[in-house]
């Protein structure tokens, strides 16, 4: 943050920028707008009431009309300021609107009904966040269940993937054995066949293993990715063999060498892989879409997608839910941006 501020303040004072510098910063400024504004707009919108969302043209800041509770009326009444006509300057509450005329009362004198031309009144509005958009997700939409499904799948799949991949990477980086090249070739082979092209048989196998429409059906087949093996192996190759020999002389079993020496020493690579795995699983869409069919098993992504298709879903809830799905990743991003960037650069993608 300090970077950003010093950057902004320092450039302003400098008058001697070359025209290419202007171009550069112009481009970057546009980039910031294009990349961030949509997300910010989504965030702002998610705090607007349904009425405010339907407003065209939309306003930037979430606003709500002020209301007042008046004796004798169950609902809070919206407040208006009267800008012209008979009651000019007064603040009135509206009971109902009939055509071009509004029936209004003075809040301190609820019995006397006043008739006001609707053009004479102006809504009194204040900045207010429609947090009910969010709370309703928990009350009405079973959000917590989806959230739990996503968390469960993400964490278990990541654990399995890390364990299995680091074991394989250890074998492939630190042992010479016949068949090593074959296995390595096999790993490369699986790199060529992404899940997307074996959907049909993969689904059959998952079904035969009784994992269709279960969270495990998302977790287990997803763990068979070669990227992690590659990433970790590359890192483990840099651990000197002499350390392993030293451990062998120290009477450590091979398993102990693995988890007391190799795993701690590969921690940076494992951390990178963990972040990537969490991201992949959290954002996963196609495979869960195929495996999971009952609503109770939906992940956040699936729920979000099916919500937007449903007729009775309101944008207000949909936007709030989008924000909640986005939020964990955004937090991860803020804190671990550097690791993610280097991790992604070093794997060259999934």
């Amino acid at each position: 943050m300090a970077n950003v501020i010093s950057f902004l303040t320092r450039t302003r004072g400098i008058g001697k920028l070359h025209w290419t510098d202007w171009l550069t910063y112009g481009y970057l400024f546009l980039g910031v707008l294009l990349m961030f504004l949509p997300v910010i707009w989504l965030g702002l919108s998610s705090f607007k009431t349904e009425a405010e969302l339907e407003r065209f043209p939309p306003r930037i800041i979430p606003m709500q009309q002020e209301t007042i509770i008046v004796e004798g009326y169950d609902e809070p009444l919206p407040l208006y300021e009267i800008v012209s006509g008979e009651f000019e300057g007064e603040t009135l509450a509206q009971i109902r609107r009939v055509g071009l005329v509004a029936q209004m009362i003075r809040p301190d004198n609820p019995d006397e009904r006043l008739k006001v031309d609707i053009n004479d009144r102006q809504a009194i509005e204040k900045f207010a966040l429609a947090t009910e958009n969010y709370s309703e997700l928990f009350d009405r939409f079973n959000f917590f269940k989806f959230f739990w499904n996503s968390v469960f799948i993400t964490s278990v799949a990541t654990m399995i993937m890390l364990t299995v991949n680091s074991m394989a990477a250890f074998a492939l980086s630190k042992y010479q054995f016949t068949g090593r090249m074959v296995v390595l070739g096999l790993v490369i082979g699986t790199l060529m066949i992404p899940q997307t092209v074996v959907l049909v048989p993969l689904f059959l196998i998952t079904k035969e293993l009784n994992m269709a429409d279960s969270l495990w059906g998302v977790i287990i087949p997803g763990a068979a990715t070669p990227t992690g093996v590659f990433l970790l192996r590359q890192y483990m190759l840099t651990i000197p063999d002499e350390i392993l020999d030293a451990a062998r002389m120290d009477k450590a079993s091979e398993w102990k060498i693995f988890w007391r020496i190799i795993v701690p020493l590969s921690a940076p690579a494992i951390a990178v892989l963990a972040i990537l795995a969490i991201m992949w699983r959290w954002n996963d869409f196609l495979w869960p879409l195929i495996v999971l069919s009952s609503n109770d098993n939906f992940t956040l992504q699936l729920a979000l997608n099916s919500f937007q298709g449903e007729m009775n879903t309101q944008w207000s809830n949909l936007l709030a839910m989008t924000m909640l799905v986005l939020l964990p990743i955004a937090c991860v991003f803020v804190f671990l941006q550097k690791y993610i960037a280097t991790g992604i650069a070093s794997t060259g993608g999934k």
Binding site: N3, N165, P201
Partner: protein, 322 residues
Amino acid sequence: MLAILTPLMRVIEIPMTFLEKRLGMKNPAWLFLLPNLLLFGIFALLPVALNLAYAVTGSDAILLADRPYVGGDNFSALLQCDSYLDPNSCKDDLFWRAVHNTLLFVVLQVGLMVTFSLCTALILNRDIRARGFFRAVFFFPVLLSPVVVALIWKWILQREGILNAWIDGMGWQTFNWLLDRNWAFGWSVFLSIWAHMGFYTLILLAGLQAIPRDVYEAAKMDRATPWRAFRRITLPLLMPTMLVVLVLATIKGVQTFEEVYAFTGGGPGTATTMIIQYIYETGFAGAPRLFGPASAASLLLAAVLVVLTVVQLWLNRNNVDG
């Protein structure tokens, strides 16, 4: 984290050490490989074999035993076409529509995305302030899930969205973007670029930063203009990275599905239906599940991907030692 796992590791150690001793020191390697190989075997290799089997059998039964052998029928049905340029003349017009869409999508998306990524990387590689911040800005959308990306832009582009509000404010005619075939396709390309270009920018930036500074200094001593330095030094030295990026982007591009599906659902009509969506809808979403054509289409796609991946690995050969 290690602390949590310690008891578990202790427990695993008992059978592992036992097996190690029994099998001799010779190959504990296989013990470590076993779980991974099992997963690969069941969920990566077996499916490939089964895919072949599904592609040459018919009916909507899911069990292989119940499916009659039909030879190349699935393929010939897919490939039967009067003119490949006109999907309507094909037996399976949806498939060819998807192929056309995907091809056009890949050409536009990859071309534009790599261009923008290169521009961005070049700019980020300049001597600018707050480079880390700007890099992060461009990278941020990469982390978003496809559904979230789709919803963000849907919200902006909807009939009463902020884009139309702005257009209205300028006094122009508002437009229902996602109901128009061409605009829906165009925005799909845009959204896909928006979501992924940060990733390729990052790779290209790494490539640029790997070019040693003193090469440029030498060029400066040789009185090369910046433009010449770019043409004669940057571009040739960046070429290997560019190729990797192109191939990677193409591999991802032909598999495009998630964000576009969540964005337009493949519509309007079939305007944005991609190959993966065809496979998904034919094999899983339709009323009779037609596994045969879906598998056949998968195999055709797989063939393309294998070729692309071989190219990619070949380009990357220096990074993957034996």
